[in-house]
Amino acid sequence: MEGKVVKVGGVEVNLADAVRDPRGVEDIAEDILQEMGERRLRQWDPKLNIFAHASDIAEWDDILLNKYHTIFTSGKKSCEACQQGPCDLSAKNGLCGLDLEAHQAREGLKEACRALARQLTHARDLLNYAIKIYGKEKEIDLGPYEEYPMTNVSMLCGFYPKNLADVERALSYAEAQLAELLYAVNNGNESAKDLVEKTMHAGSLTFLAMEVAETIKMCIFDFYNAGKVEPTEYKDWPKMQTPVGLGVVDTSKPVICFMGNDFLPAWHAVRIIKERGLEDEIEVCGVGAAGHDIPRFYEKAKVVTSATKARLAIRAGIPDVIVVSEMCLPFDVVEEAKKIGAKVIAYGYKADFKGVEDKTELPMEELVKYLEENDAVQVTIPEKAGELAVEIVKKAKEGKKAALLSEAEIKEKAAACKACDSCFNVCPNRLMISRAMKAAKEGNLEKLSEIYDECVFCAKCEHVCPNGLPIIDMIIGASIEKIKNDKYMMRPGRGLISHIEWRDLTFGFVLGGNGPGMVYIIGCGKYPGAEKDVAEIVRYLVDRNCFVAVAGCVAADAAKYFDEEERKYIFEKYLAAGLLRGFVNLGGCTAISHIPPATYKGTMIGSGYTPKANWSQIVDYQYTRLPLVVLIWGAATEEMFTVAMGFARSGVSVVVGPEGFKFKTWLLGNKHDRSKWQMFDGITGRIREVEPCPVHMIIPVETKEEAITMIAKLFHRPLALRDPRLASLEAYNEAHKNFFGEYSDDWHLYVRSEHEIHVMRRMEMLRLLEREHGWVIEGPRVKKARLRDGRLVDMRDYVENYGIQLGRYSTVVPRLVIKEMVGGAVAAPSEEITKMHGVPKE
């Protein structure tokens, strides 16, 4: 295709060479090329993915999927996606040509589309509301400390949105992409690989949707936003002001509890509460996403628990009024609320509950009367839903029923248990309920109370109990003291990590320092063990010099630690900033969208590359250099699988707890296959063998000890400098030895010299290299090392043949080998370019 020719300094670029189809996006493409500048354009041919379709990022996705094996976990062998079905794919392809692997891959895409749809509609609701109130010209201003606004958008679309009209352009693009992905879910016979690429695309689009929501929250509704705060204040900002836990709500006062993903009714309820001076009279609390959003604009808000445990909040009798919007883990809120006599306001068009009528058009007085007489009402206007909650909450309190079972009642009910163990066999945590029932029957409630610690209140047990036992109520009734004492404090979410902080992080983790890496922990509260495990993971990592950030429901559970010695909660124990040993809360579920931009910032600061529709270059840089890992602990929603796929595509490895065994796709690297662990010396194009790292992109683990150890292993990056290499190897060795009583079978693959082994462990490890791997050691020095092909060579040869020293331009993307040097096909770089970059000539 003929395209417009753009002149950047002395370089001419034909847009048709840089963009698959430049029509309609010439302005964006030209801007990006000008921003890249002559110097970059002389080094590499640009390839821009403006308004990317999945296949526009195939250059990168192919590299990833050639390196990592997709392991599919769906056992479904029959396809019913189209009218020709069902087709049994176990022996042969379907009528359309679809094979079993592709079918399994499609199961993943289907799940990802569900998550994407949920996030897109949430973002769309907020955007439409913002446009309605403020107009499309409303400026996007994330503050002076956010230099790169909305990079999830810019990475896919090619521009930084300047106003709501730009945001809408980006969101409309993502909505159209969802339609395209849904088409692939139900049609055609694509390969498994194409479908996995599309699933990753859904992940990237989910970040975009979450980013739109998050941006509106920060720009329009004044949520806490680190972009607007002086970086010198970060270390103690936002303040430790948010109470967390079931025991923090003062139930002697009327309580409004917000559940679901939408904060708008809460925003208006808080506005009215403030206008009427009711802050000390009405308790405002939240569960799940809303629970984490409200404290970002209301300092008196309380977080009760995660979305997974919303049912617990109700059964424990906390709310008088529940305002529920669309939920990531839907359950029958109205039925649950009836059990304690709480009133339900279902907000929005998506919060459709059977039998609940939409009475939005009624005047407030009549609406109040209607809800007094009924259990629930649907209201689709946020101002009205918020006002109704405030109006009704005092009266609602009067109608409340006693929620908790007495000891005698528990004992009596337990006697009806027939020990059929239907409950045990569906319980995600394999909790032995019948054993606890037996003890309870005899008057010992201790075992039921032990179950409380690991129960996620999913109600699967109650659902299958043939005797209809209220198992959850019995567990709660046996744990009243635990509920009362569930009291902690946290910092509310702060939004983004600023580029200023990234400069510090770069010094602590990339250029030197002794931080092994940065960990982002997300999750929904569906833990495989006790919820306090999250805080233990955080403490372990921060105490070992990591930077840790949390986002989503997991943040409230991470708060559940109090240091008796220091008399400090975990959020005040560590610095609240993006630093070595820093620990920050980004916010609720949509704040997950701050994680990819945080990683892109590392790349931009390190390389100066343009984060606009320039996927391969940005992601290649961070994938090969930055020690970043996401831990998903307590995954319950499709969103978690979807963002895991998105993170992998962004070059960030993901460790996921036991719920990850249910993820439809794992992306695992084979450390034994040396052909997979190679990259290009970016100057000469020569292929170099490197360490198998990061060895996996998505891997499920079983225990928190496995999670910590795998995180440490995945910090390794082939282009990391010596000190970060030492720090990550030490973290890996220490964890493996402490938790499993032995060193791993692969730690030696990450050693390039004795200087990368921590001094405290050096002699021990050198001996092991000698004894188990046949290296030649002299005193504290490596004399000869064994290459992966088995040859014993001196250190000069070792360094020459393994690992890569020329970090600056090295790459896994062939296009990004500096073009002027490849095979001498093009002239060597000019003196000027060489001087500018300090490019070492070979």
Binding site: I71, A419, F424, D673, I699, H736
Partner: protein, 154 residues
């Protein structure tokens, strides 16, 4: 149908003695069937079948020194190595026995290993994706079934 009686499972495993790998998952340490931990069943099973134990989760600490061979392994990596490169310090197995995994994890692992090895799941929930599995049953019956399998392995 994957579900089989304990006696049939014992017979099946006995015929494959020496070709089996036992995978012990994290629930092996958590679950106790009236005083006996699941990990003890895993160890007994491995010894009776002359099998190594791929100890996943944290179970290696409870298995070390009690079976002919064991190693800390990662459950999700095992299907990968079975498919591409088996470089472990014990023979590549023909049968993998899973014990101590949630039904969801066992289903995923059995699916991932399908066509590579035969899989036997010894949980109290039937796992149709496995080659062979116990039926869904009560905790008491599960305990009895495990005992019966052990007894019939000799």
């Amino acid at each position: 149908m994957a579900a089989k009686e304990p006696l049939d499972i014992a017979k099946y495993l006995k015929e494959r003695k020496g070709k089996v790998l036992v995978m012990s998952g994290w629930l092996c340490e958590k679950l106790e069937l009236d005083g006996r931990r699941l990990i003890d069943y895993a160890v007994e099973l491995a010894n009776k079948l002359d099998a190594a134990v791929a100890a996943t989760g944290n179970t290696v600490n409870a298995v070390r020194g009690k079976v002919k061979a064991t190693k800390k392994m990662w459950a999700a990596e095992i299907p990968l190595y079975l498919k591409y490169d088996w470089k472990e310090p014990f023979e590549r197995p023909e049968v993998v026995v899973l014990i101590g995994y949630t039904p969801d994890a066992a289903r995923a692992l059995a699916t991932a290993m399908a066509g590579l090895v035969e899989t036997v799941v010894l949980d109290s929930v039937e796992v149709p994706e496995a080659t062979i599995s116990l039926r869904t049953m009560t905790i008491d019956k599960w305990k009895e079934s495990l005992k019966e399998i052990m007894k019939n392995l000799g």
